[in-house]
Amino acid sequence: MATVSVTDISKTYPNGAQAVRPASFDIADGELIVLVGPSGCGKSTLLRMVAGLEDITTGDLRIGDRVVNDLDPAERDIAMVFQNYALYPHMTVAKNMAYGLKNRGASKDEIAAKVTEAAEMLSLTPLLDRRPSQLSGGQRQRVAMGRAIVRDPALFLFDEPLSNLDAKLRHQMRVEIRNLQRRLNVTAMYVTHDQVEAMTMADRIFVLNAGGIEQIGTPSEIYRKPASTFVASFMGAPPMNLLNGKADGGKVHIGESAVPMPCADGSVLLGIRPEEVAVSQMGTIPFKLTLIEELGASRLLHGTVAGQDFVVNAPNDDTALAEELMLEFPANALHLFDAETGKRL
C-alpha cells in the first residue's frame, strides 16, 4: 500500500518519437486509477514506465516515499498483470505464484501460506498442481492475479488484463478485480482501451490522447464535464453528439434553429449525449431519421440535425416514428467546446 507521485514524467524514444508527453499526477493510497485511451495513446508506455520495463526519459516517479526511476522492476515493490497473462509455462500454478516470493527470500512456510491464501481467494485451490497450458483463459487470468496478490505489493499494475477474455467472463472478472482491489486496499493502475471498463472500475479515470493526459477525473466528472471533444467522444457509448454551430448574441445557431446558450460569439461545437436528448412535439430542433437500432430497453435513432450526423438514445415505447421528428435539448445537458482547439468552454 502506497501513494504514487509522478512529476513531469515523459518518454522519448531514441528515434525522437515522444510516446509520453510530460505529465504529473498523484495517486492516493488504495486508489484504483484507470488509464484509458485509443491504441497508441501512450497509456501502456506510461504503465510500463511505472513498472520499470521502459526507461523514464525525464521526470521523477515515486512509489511510497522512494524515487524509483533507477530501480529494477523487481525492486520497485510492484506486481503486474499482463494482457496475455505471461505465466511461466513450465511451472505449475503454485510455482507460478511462489516464484516472486521465493526470490525475495521468503521462507517455505510463508510462501505456502500465502499461496494457499491467494488460491483460496481466487478459487484456484484445485488447480494448484496444473500447468498453465491445462487451464482455461479465465483460470489463467486468475493465476496471473494470484501471482500479483501473493507478493503483497505496494502497487498493482494491470495492462489490459481482460482483453483476451470473452464478453461474459470479462464482466465477471471486472467485478472480481474491483472487489479484490477494494478488499486488499492496494493502490492500482489499470490500463484499458475499453471505456466501459474504465467507467465501471475506476476511482479516477485518466483519459490519454496522443501521448498526453487529456483529462483526469472521477467517472462521473469525465462523463458530465468532458474537458475536450476528444474525451466527450471517447467516453460514452454511443459517443456524444457534436454539432458545428455559431454563437451569436447568447444563442448557438445550428442550421435554421438556435439553442439559448450564453457564450462569446464565434464558431463553437455544441455537444449533447444521445441519452439526454428528448424526442418531443414541443422540441425546437428538427431531426431527420434514417435508421433505428433496437437495443431492447431503448433504441438508437440515427439521423441528421441540420445535415450533421446525430444519434438519439430514446426509450423504447414501441411507437412508430415519423421520418421527421422534433428534438428537445435540455439546457443542463449541453456542452460547449471551442471549434478550433476542441477544449471545453
Binding site: 520499470g52 523487481a74 506486481a79 499482463f82 505471461a86 511461466y88 513450465h90 516464484y99 516472486g100
Partner: protein
C-alpha cells in the same frame, strides 16, 4: 485424421515407390550388407571369405585399440557437444540482447554456417598448418610448438577446435530463434519477479529453451560422432595409427585401408545400434518431458 480415397488401389503404392526405393537402395541394402559381412572374414586380397560367426564382434570387444578409439570418441563427442552448445548459447543470449545493428551482427555470427563441411575442414587444416597456419604461429609465439598429425594431443586439440567452430553457427541459429520465440511478456514478468539476471536465465529462459536445446543435443552428438569425418581425415594427415581418431574414422581405415571388411562391418553395425539408441531416446524424450504447451 483425413483419409484420402484412391479409386485405383495401385496408385498409393506407385506414389510411395520413389521414396521406398531410395530408402531400400541407400539404407536397407547397405545396412543388410554390413550386417551380413560382419559375420565373415575376408581375404585381404579379395579371394573370398569365410564364415566366422561372431568372431569379428568378440575381436572388437577384446581389442584394446578399439577400446582406446571408443574412449577418445566418447571424450571427443562430449567435449565437442558441450563446447559447441555452450559457446553458441552464450553467443545467442548476447546476440538476443543486441538492439542496434542486430541483423548485421546475427548475419556475421551465422556466416560460418554457409561454409560447406569439406571446405570448413580444409580451412581448419590451413589454420593449423605446420608452416603457414596462423594458429600454429600464435602458439609458436607463446613458445609452444603445435604439431598437428604428429603429436596426439595437438591433433586432438585441432580436431576439437575445428569441429566446434563448424558447429557453433547451426546451434546459434536454433538457440537464437528459440530465445526469440519466448514471449516477451513472460520475460518481463520474470523481470518483475526476480532481480538477478543469471537466476532469471536459469529459472525461466533456459527451461523454455529446453526443447530446442535437447533437440540440438542429439543433433550435436550425431554431428560429433559422424559428421566430423572430414575434419579428422585432414588432421590425421594420413597417419591414423599414432593420432586420435573416432569410431567412424576407424571403420573407414580398417575397411578400406586395412582391407578388413568383416571387422569394419562389425564396427558399422555397432555404430548403427548406437544411432538407433540415440534416435529412440530422442523421440521418447521429446514426446515426454520437455514440451509444455
Amino acid at each position: 485424421m483425413k483419409r484420402a480415397a484412391f479409386s485405383q488401389p495401385l496408385m498409393p503404392v506407385a506414389l510411395l515407390m520413389p521414396q521406398l526405393i531410395i530408402i531400400a537402395v541407400f539404407f536397407y541394402w547397405p545396412a543388410w550388407e554390413a550386417i551380413y559381412s560382419s559375420f565373415f572374414l575376408q581375404d585381404p586380397f579379395g579371394f573370398g571369405s569365410n564364415y566366422v560367426g561372431a568372431d569379428n564382434y568378440t575381436r572388437l570387444a577384446k581389442s584394446s585399440e578399439y577400446g582406446k578409439v571408443a574412449g577418445f570418441t566418447l571424450f571427443f563427442t562430449v567435449v565437442v557437444t558441450f563446447l559447441s552448445l555452450g559457446i553458441a548459447l552464450l553467443l545467442a543470449v548476447k546476440a538476443d540482447k543486441v538492439i542496434r545493428g542486430a541483423k548485421t551482427y546475427r548475419t556475421l555470427l551465422m556466416w560460418v554456417y554457409a561454409v560447406a563441411p569439406p571446405v570448413a575442414g580444409f580451412l581448419g587444416g590451413l589454420l593449423f598448418d605446420q608452416n603457414i597456419g596462423p594458429i600454429t604461429d600464435l602458439f609458436a609465439f607463446f613458445g609452444y610448438n603445435l604439431q598437428i598429425g604428429l603429436n596426439y594431443n595437438d591433433t586432438a586439440f585441432a580436431m576439437i577446435v575445428v569441429s566446434v567452430w563448424k558447429q557453433i553457427p547451426v546451434n546459434f541459429i536454433f538457440l537464437l530463434s528459440g530465445l526469440q520465440s519466448i514471449p516477451v511478456a513472460v520475460r518481463e514478468a520474470a523481470l518483475i519477479d526476480n532481480k538477478s539476471g543469471t537466476r532469471r536465465f536459469w529459472d525461466i529462459t533456459f527451461p523454455l529453451l529446453a526443447p530446442t536445446a535437447f533437440f540440438l543435443l542429439i543433433i550435436n552428438i550425431t554431428y560429433a560422432l559422424f559428421d566430423t569425418f572430414g575434419v579428422i581425415d585432414i588432421m590425421v594427415k594420413g597417419n591414423p595409427a599414432s593420432n586420435p581418431i573416432t569410431l567412424v574414422y576407424k571403420v573407414y581405415t580398417d575397411g578400406f585401408r586395412g582391407n578388413d571388411l568383416g571387422g569394419s562391418s562389425a564396427q558399422s553395425v555397432v555404430l548403427m545400434v548406437l544411432v538407433l539408441l540415440l534416435t529412440v531416446m530422442q523421440f521418447r524424450m521429446l514426446e515426454r518431458r520437455i514440451h509444455y504447451t
